[in-house]
């Protein structure tokens, strides 16, 4: 698409991944806190949710969350390195490593959980 042509490079994609994963995590945070509080307020409710996570769809959602966290974590390290360390030229390598690392962690999680 011509209107987006100036964005088609690795650093812009790394930015997009960072923004979307950050947004996803921020939206998930209140749900996560609410669920944890159920441990005290409604342990049976929490455990029924726990059983429910045997559901493959929910498993995929969990995998997605871990992926978001890993992607945002590695992307954030990339940004901190870029801003704090006076280097250049290696950004693409690090951007690629970000995605690779995210996949690695998420894949480990998925393999162990299945």
């Amino acid at each position: 698409m011509i209107a987006l042509a100036h964005r088609s490079h690795p650093l812009w994609l790394a930015y997009l991944v960072h923004r979307l994963s950050g947004l996803g995590l921020a939206l998930f945070l209140p749900v996560h806190f609410y669920m944890l509080a159920m441990v005290l307020t409604d342990p049976e409710g929490f455990d029924s949710f726990g059983l429910w996570t045997q559901n493959p769809l929910v498993k995929m959602a969990e995998f997605g969350l871990v992926f978001l966290l890993a992607a945002h974590f590695f992307g954030g390290l990339r940004l901190l390195a870029l801003e704090m360390l006076p280097w250049s030229g290696r950004q693409k390598t690090l951007a690629a490593a970000t995605v690779a690392g995210a996949f690695l962690v998420a894949a480990t999680f998925l393999l162990r959980a299945i």
């Binding site: 698409m1 100036h6 704090m84």
Partner: protein, 242 residues
């Protein structure tokens, strides 16, 4: 004989201010033809009312930048055969700036931000004093060197999506200049520059998308310059609390 189609299908933005539409032209292809050659050919042979801006034609003055197939480019140094898509060219005015007419963007906001970022020299000596000597091999001078060859073409400003989302953001060119001023040993306004780039539209809004550096025709890296400003302002934050 040239490979590929012998005629270019060129879509050019026509209009004033916020209204307008693309108009199609057929332009004969030539060897070593630049995008600016195409625009000039249309203006000279098909429609003398086409408005665009250029001056030096050799990549020094920074006045001929336009959007070419969605990417901001210096049109005088951009060969058609490097950017055309099967003989098709879409040419528009620079993004992120108001349009005066057709391909001529209003550069005022761009230069106003340049001044806002204190991207100007703050002299420390008068003419009665000796000229300052700067060691060309010094760290500061070499850092300034990497940012110094900006021609004010606004390609980086047009490429930046942070500018698009935040109209107050000073943008890559102004911040890149501010960084070369910060590294100028003769400059007496270092603290003013660091304060000017730390306001709410300042360097800290940059998301390191890198489109500025990707598209800079002079191969400068505003991305690294802005990272440098972030480091220096963070350092002064710890020292002075702001």
């Amino acid at each position: 004989m040239l490979d590929g189609p012998q005629t270019l299908s060129v879509s050019i933005w026509r209009g004033t201010g916020t209204t307008g539409a693309f108009q199609s032209f057929e332009v004969p292809r030539q060897g070593s033809q630049t995008v600016l050659d195409v625009v000039s050919w249309i203006q000279q042979n098909l429609d003398p009312t086409l408005t665009y801006r250029y001056a030096c034609r050799v990549g020094m003055c920074g006045s001929c930048a336009m959007m070419v197939n969605g990417v901001p480019r210096w049109t005088c140094r951009t060969h058609v055969n490097k950017v055309d898509q099967g003989g098709a060219l879409t040419i528009g005015p620079l993004r992120n700036l108001p349009v005066i007419k057709d391909l001529a963007a209003d550069m005022d906001p761009f230069f106003e931000k340049w001044v806002k970022a204190e991207g100007l020299f703050h002299p420390a000596r008068t003419r009665h004093e000796e000229v300052a000597r700067v060691d060309p091999a010094s760290e500061a001078r070499r850092t300034a060197d990497r940012a110094i060859e900006c021609i004010n073409c606004s390609v980086c400003y047009a490429a930046c999506d942070t500018v698009a989302g935040n109209p107050d953001y000073l943008g890559p060119a102004a911040l890149n200049r501010a960084w070369s001023v910060v590294n100028d040993e003769r400059d007496a306004g270092r603290a003013e520059v660091l304060a000017a780039v730390s306001v709410s539209g300042g360097c800290h809004n940059c998301h390191s998308q890198g489109s500025c550096t990707r598209h800079c025709p002079n191969e400068l890296s505003p991305l690294d310059s802005i990272a440098g400003l972030k480091r220096e302002t963070a350092r002064s934050f710890w020292r002075k609390g702001r």
